[in-house]
């Protein structure tokens, strides 16, 4: 069997299609607890079949938003529509939504089968059908043998799968997952990420996942909404969020980034030039920015987009007049096997992080501690941030 990419390249992008109606529509929803504003005028449209991630640190309001979708919290202001129906006043047990809890919330006094069957029983499904559907969903999560066990007789990974099966067995159109992989160890988490995506594609259910783990959000989701202090900082595909962050917060929250401060000196239709004391060179970026000359901006450059060399870089075409080239001393090297991380102290005093893949097997590093090195990057590497 051929290895398939997790997300097929031809996948639908319903948010690009103006004819599509969103399946979940969150309209200017605000939630306050006393004086604390947990969610602040959030609007979102999520489409059928999406794997949507709400990404943010603790206290960013992502879980509160999820709980409002499930019906455990009522919005202070604003409206939530699921499949066109206003959810105001509809209790959790009448919503076409199921949720997988961070703690899994498996009923400790019931066996795995009883846990999974619980939801179907509430709907008055016939016994024979319950048995069949429970069996089928347990096979799907590879727990067919464990039906008679109690939750405490299962490992963490197995419990996670029981919780998933229980929330999927009612065939909800929308599944909410609160930190679904949070309690698993790293290795298991990576494997489960793929499983989760496979199951989601197989069943065609819309997933909304809350997570604080940016890597998790990047691997699994079709789109990500980055949340900060109850506000959505940016919504977009993983690539958009990573390559084109719209604010310093997003740039710094997703992956690591080097942030240079500078002043716009030249603003053309096809490029901008920014003078940066920080970087010790002029920064040339091949896209226009809607800021007037003289404005102070930040330029974000990802560590893997910076090239390290002991000689001044040769391709002067992209680095004409010493733009996007600076130099410094290697202060720290972290060898991670596949890549190495270099911390380079520039002449200006700023420390820049560079990651370089270890393409060649070597025991002796060509670049080592206290070497003077040149750092250079291509015109597309930088992102101008005004916010």
């Amino acid at each position: 069997m051929a290895v398939q990419p997790i997300r097929k390249p031809t996948r639908l992008e319903p948010w690009q299609d103006p004819g599509q109606k969103p399946y979940v529509r969150i309209e200017k929803v605000t939630k306050t607890f006393g004086d604390f504003v947990a969610v602040d005028e959030v609007s979102l449209s999520i489409y059928r079949g999406e794997f949507f991630a709400l990404l943010g640190g603790s206290g960013s309001g992502k879980t509160t938003l999820l709980r409002m979708l499930a019906g455990f919290e009522t919005p202070t202001e604003g409206k939530i529509f699921i499949d066109g129906v206003d959810m105001a006043g509809i209790p959790p047990y009448e919503r076409p939504v199921n949720m997988m809890f961070q703690s899994y919330a498996l009923f400790p006094h019931m066996s795995v089968e009883q846990n999974v069957a619980f939801g179907l029983k509430q709907d008055g499904v016939a016994k024979a059908e319950i048995k069949e559907r429970v069996g089928a969903i347990l096979d799907l999560v590879q727990l067919g043998q464990f039906g008679k066990r109690k939750p405490h007789q299962l490992s963490g990974g197995q419990r996670q799968r029981v919780a998933l099966a229980r929330s999927l067995v009612k065939r909800p159109k929308l599944l909410l997952l609160d930190e679904p992989l949070g309690a698993l160890d790293k290795r298991l988490r990576e494997r489960t990420q793929f499983e989760l995506v496979n199951i989601q594609e197989k069943l065609g259910v819309t997933f909304i996942v809350v997570t604080h783990d940016q890597e998790e959000a990047m691997t699994m989701s079709s789109r990500i909404a980055v949340m900060n202090h109850g506000v959505i900082a940016q919504t977009g595909t993983p690539t958009e969020i990573y390559e084109y962050p719209q604010s310093r917060f997003v740039a710094e929250f997703i992956g690591s980034v080097n942030m240079f401060e500078g002043r716009v000196v030249e603003d053309q239709a096809d490029h901008v030039l920014i003078r940066s004391e920080d970087a010790g060179c002029d920064l040339y970026i091949n896209h226009a920015v809607a800021v007037p000359a003289g404005a102070t901006v930040g330029v974000a450059v990802r560590p893997e987009k910076i090239a390290l060399s002991k000689e001044p870089p040769a391709n002067a075409a992209t680095n004409a007049d010493g733009r996007n080239v600076t130099s410094g001393i290697v202060r720290e090297i972290a060898y991670l096997g596949d890549v190495s991380i270099y911390l380079v102290e520039l002449k200006t005093g700023k420390t820049v992080r560079v990651t370089a893949p270890n393409v060649v097997r070597r025991t002796e590093m060509p670049i080592t501690w206290d070497d003077e090195v040149y750092l250079s990057w291509r015109p597309f590497a930088g992102v101008v941030l005004t916010q």
Binding site: P91, Q102, A105, K150, H152, R166
Partner: protein, 277 residues
């Protein structure tokens, strides 16, 4: 080593302090002599006589009935109160309620008894119920003060209960009432059982409140024992106390045995699950 010796000695002293009186009571229940404190040889005659003593047995039976009924009633009321305090978030006067529920724990029993007596008398004059004082009034009185203990036990259990269990059940389509009976109640059942046992013991033990609210013909066992002290204790009381102790000790022993076994089983299962990946 010397340190250990001292500690062991302290331990023995502590246990002696606790158990010598009880051992003495059991010892004298097998006393031939009529005088409780004078040893007159081994005999089980007081046990035989006890079985003939209708007053004492009647009182014991009444005490057991009152204890069972008031424990059951206080478990129901205490669970409701505990639920309200642990679950319904912040409502007006929550702190006040929380404090007030525990007030009967520290209230002098004499005051509780007297105030209940006044209430019963006033009620009888106003609506004709309760008709005189007896088992009903004792049961009600015991419920009022044991309920506080149960509420505290249930509340602390509910606070440590993962609220997402209830939310998960609701999310899967169960209405709140059903969630309570199918999810919450089975999970907090051990707390309810221990609350019931505590209420039962407290009721069985009470003499002060019962003295206030009991009527003629309804005398609980502690009241009989207490009043018989004035005329000198009959060794029958020793025999009765020994029997009750045997029953209670056996019950506790079996319960703890079952619980220890469950705990061991659970630990074993968990270890197996971890190894099984």
């Amino acid at each position: 080593m010397k340190q250990m010796g001292k500690l062991a000695w302290a331990l023995w002293f502590g246990y002696a302090f606790l158990y010598v009186p009880i051992a003495l009571l059991i010892f004298y229940s097998f006393n031939e002599s009529r005088l409780v404190t004078v040893w007159g040889g081994f005999s089980t005659k007081w046990y035989a006589e006890l079985l003939q003593n209708d007053q004492l047995l009647g009182a014991a039976w009444l005490s057991l009935k009152v204890a069972a009924m008031s424990a059951t009633a206080s478990v129901v009321l205490g669970t409701v109160a505990g639920l309200a305090l642990a679950r319904f978030g912040r409502f007006r006067g929550r702190t006040l309620f929380g404090g007030m529920i525990t007030a009967p724990l520290v209230m002098p029993e004499v005051i509780t008894g007297l105030s209940l007596l006044l209430l019963f008398v006033a009620l009888e004059q106003a609506i004709g119920w309760p008709d005189g004082r007896g088992m009903t009034t004792i049961t009600i009185a015991h419920t009022t003060f044991t309920m506080a203990y149960v509420a505290v036990i249930i509340q602390s259990r509910l606070v440590s209960l993962d609220e997402s269990l209830e939310e998960a059940a609701m999310d899967l389509g169960a209405r709140p009432a059903k969630v309570f009976f199918v999810i919450t109640l089975p999970i907090i059942a051990p707390a309810i059982v221990s609350g019931w046992l505590l209420a039962f013991t407290l009721s069985l033990d009470d003499v002060v409140v019962a003295s206030f609210v009991s009527g003629p013909g309804s005398t609980t066992l502690p009241m009989v024992i207490f009043s018989s002290v004035k005329f000198g204790i009959s060794p029958q009381i020793n025999a009765l106390a020994t029997l009750m102790m045997v029953v209670v000790a056996t019950g506790i022993f079996i319960a703890s045995l079952v619980m220890a076994r469950q705990e061991r089983q659970k630990t074993r299962d968990e270890q197996m699950a971890v190894q099984g990946g």
